[in-house]
């Protein structure tokens, strides 16, 4: 066990995986000599060499496409896109090749690969270094979309993703990269990709959240002594229906918190799914606290993302209902 930040935990996970399996190749912009702009791949070039830790030309389309080819040929590629905001030139590859390959070939080709990319706010990056684009991936059939909320989960979910025989979009909340340390095993371990995590038990309401919003939800609930159950989804697609439904049926009140904008977001899908299956258990409308439905602004980012005041307003509304 070592006290690790999320960055250190991810680095440790990549190191464990690469040590074990020489088919794993990292590639991306500045991932080698520079160790990645957030240092997630720091030290790996020195240990594994340039054949396995590749500083690529600046072309997201190429990084993803190149990784797809490697994985088609029996390697396990782990491409990094420096900021999720820059992934769009690779979206044709992600949607048309990566996500569909297994289905359209009926499994003739499978694609074990993990596309890592930092997302969300936290660094005052403005419209092009802060986007929360998870729904572009969750609405693409064939992708598994994972997002950790703490260092322990980050490493365990990453190692499970690497073992999966299907493509994973691994969204790393950059605001949590250096947000705190926790005890993380130095050795190889996994966290179940198909299981949400009940991070706090409670009776009065269930809060569904994930990734960058989790620590905020937790601190808000604790500080204000709310008797709330908190579920960290960990995997957005396919999400863990059973854990969610058990929580909803227990408390009958649901709040969804995410940093991405509200309209057509993950919250909308969760809300619809819960309504379709458990309307009789609900004692109040399902509420959402999310990022605002505007591009994320540079100077006023803190007003854009969910905060304690907005979360508490929604909780109070639900409790009074």
């Amino acid at each position: 066990m070592t006290q690790m930040t999320m960055v250190k935990a991810l680095n440790s996970g990549l190191n464990n995986a690469m040590e074990k399996d020489d088919s794993i190749i990292l590639l991306g912009e500045d991932v080698g000599t520079d160790g990645g702009v957030f240092r997630v791949t720091d030290g790996l070039l020195a240990k594994y060499g340039k054949e396995r830790v590749m500083d690529t030309p600046l072309a997201e389309l190429g990084i993803v496409g190149f990784g797809i080819g490697m994985s088609m040929a029996g390697l396990k590629s782990i491409p990094e896109i420096q900021f999720q905001d820059f992934i769009y030139t690779a979206m044709d590859q992600i949607i048309n090749q990566m996500a569909k390959l297994r289905y359209r070939t009926n499994g003739d080709y499978t694609l074990p690969m993990v596309l890592r990319t930092p997302y969300g706010g936290g660094v005052h990056g403005g419209p092009y270094h802060s986007q929360s684009g998870e729904v572009y991936f969750t609405h693409t059939q064939g992708l598994t979309v994972v997002t950790p909320s703490n260092p322990y989960d980050a490493k365990g979910l990453l190692l499970s993703s690497i073992e999966l025989n299907d493509p994973v979009i691994f969204l790393e909340p950059k605001r949590l990269y250096y947000a705190g340390k926790m005890e993380v095993p130095d050795d190889y371990y996994k966290v179940d990709l198909r299981k949400a995590s009940v991070i706090r038990e409670g009776d009065d309401l269930t809060i569904l959240t994930y990734g960058p919003a989790v620590p905020l939800v937790k601190s808000t609930v604790e500080k204000n002594n709310v008797n709330a159950q908190i579920i960290d989804l960990r995997t957005l697609s396919p999400f863990d229906l059973d854990t969610i439904m058990a929580g909803v049926k227990k408390t009958g009140k649901v709040l969804i918190v995410h940093e991405a904008p509200k309209m057509f977001g993950v919250g909308a899908e969760l809300s619809a799914t819960i309504s379709e299956r458990a309307i009789d258990y609900l004692a109040a409308p399902i509420l959402r606290v999310t990022g605002l439905d505007i591009p994320i602004p540079f100077a006023l980012e803190e007003y854009y993302v969910p905060n304690e005041r907005r979360i508490m307003a929604a909780i109070e509304k639900l409790l009074k209902y």
Partner: protein
């Protein structure tokens, strides 16, 4: 000029038969699409010499990533006819169980990639496959084919750059049929609308130089030249990539969804001197390998073979609807299991 080649007489005759077979299949499949047996079809006419030359050149240790107009390459490579035609006609026995359009083959066990519709969408995948070959120190090279239209895409330029940067064992092969649907590859005068229009002003084969490797232009109507140049390129690719631009002419429409009479006067017609079938006959007659009688016999023979096969596959059963939900993920998500109920 009489061609010289290391291919045996039997090998050359087989190649010629496959050229004829591809032409006849093409006509019959176009016909099947007009009759409603195929909802969509990509014609091949004009590409036969390229396809058969490629099929002769590709070695067992090579990996081939084709595009959607490469039917004949598979014929010449010896892929079983049942595998090819069950895919084209999307039958129940298709290894993709009818999930993708005609000529979108996926044949991993033959070292063939999964054909993708978006133009050039496979080029960066092919470079990644070449990287895997190099990393694993495997024998052979990767060859990927695409049309002239693909050379305008970012995928082409990114793939070429990566291939140059990592000095990959691969051959980029452009089947230049001179049209991206309606737009000509190189500057062409359009009198009706008083414009000159084109996909590119610079020669495609020269674009390789900027990425640090060589490009060559070859005659795509001469199957022996295609074979010779491609085989040489595959053998040499272990020391670095090459771009080949094979010149031909798309004698038919782009697909069954367009009418070329709207945008061009077709200058290469069937039986004309630039028709790859005619060119092939002339080459083999000059080499004293083929006689007029052989040509008639082969035509008759292939006519019968292809008719029987088309008849069989256009009437073959389609996949059962119960197959359509499978193989999206290795472990099926709960909502897919639920949606199975919607197709009963």
């Amino acid at each position: 000029m009489i061609e010289e080649t290391d291919i045996s007489k039997e090998g050359l005759l087989t190649a010629y038969k496959n050229i004829v077979m591809e032409r006849l299949f093409d006509k019959k499949m176009l016909n099947a699409s007009r009759q409603g047996f195929l909802p969509f079809y990509i014609p091949l006419m004009g590409h036969e010499a390229i396809h058969i030359g490629l099929g002769m050149a590709i070695r067992e240790e090579d990996f081939f990533y084709p595009y959607y107009r490469d039917f004949g390459v598979l014929l010449q490579m010896g892929i079983p006819m049942d595998t090819i035609l069950s895919q084209v006609f999307a039958t129940a026995t298709d290894n993709e169980i009818g999930r993708d359009m005609p000529d979108h083959f996926s044949l991993k066990k033959y070292n063939i990639g999964a054909v993708i519709t978006p133009v050039a969408g496979h080029l960066t995948s092919a470079t990644g496959i070449a990287y895997a070959k190099k990393y694993r120190k495997q024998n052979g090279s990767v060859i990927t084919t695409f049309g002239d239209g693909a050379t305008s895409t970012p995928d082409f330029h990114v793939a070429m750059n990566f291939a140059g940067v990592y000095n990959l064992p691969m051959v980029f092969f452009v089947e230049n049929n001179q049209f991206a649907i309606s737009v000509p590859t190189y500057p062409t005068e359009d009198k009706a609308f008083n414009q000159t229009y084109e996909e590119t002003k610079g020669a495609i084969y020269k674009k390789a130089e900027a990425y640090g490797f060589n490009g060559v232009r070859i005659d795509g109507t001469n199957f022996i030249e295609v074979y010779r140049e491609t085989r040489k390129a595959l053998e040499n690719a272990e020391s670095g990539p090459l771009l080949i631009e094979a010149m031909t002419y798309r004698m038919g429409p782009h697909s069954t969804a367009d009418d070329p009479n709207k945008y061009r006067t077709t200058t290469v017609v069937e039986g004309g001197e630039k028709d790859p079938v005619t060119v092939s006959q002339k080459i083999l007659k000059d080499m004293a390998i083929l006689t007029d009688k052989d040509i008639d016999d082969i035509n008759k023979d292939m006519e019968e073979t292809t008719s029987q096969l088309i008849d069989k596959y256009e009437k073959a059963p389609k996949p059962d609807k119960s197959t359509m939900m499978g193989n999206l993920y290795e472990q099926e998500p709960w909502y897919i299991s639920e949606e199975r109920g919607d197709i009963q």
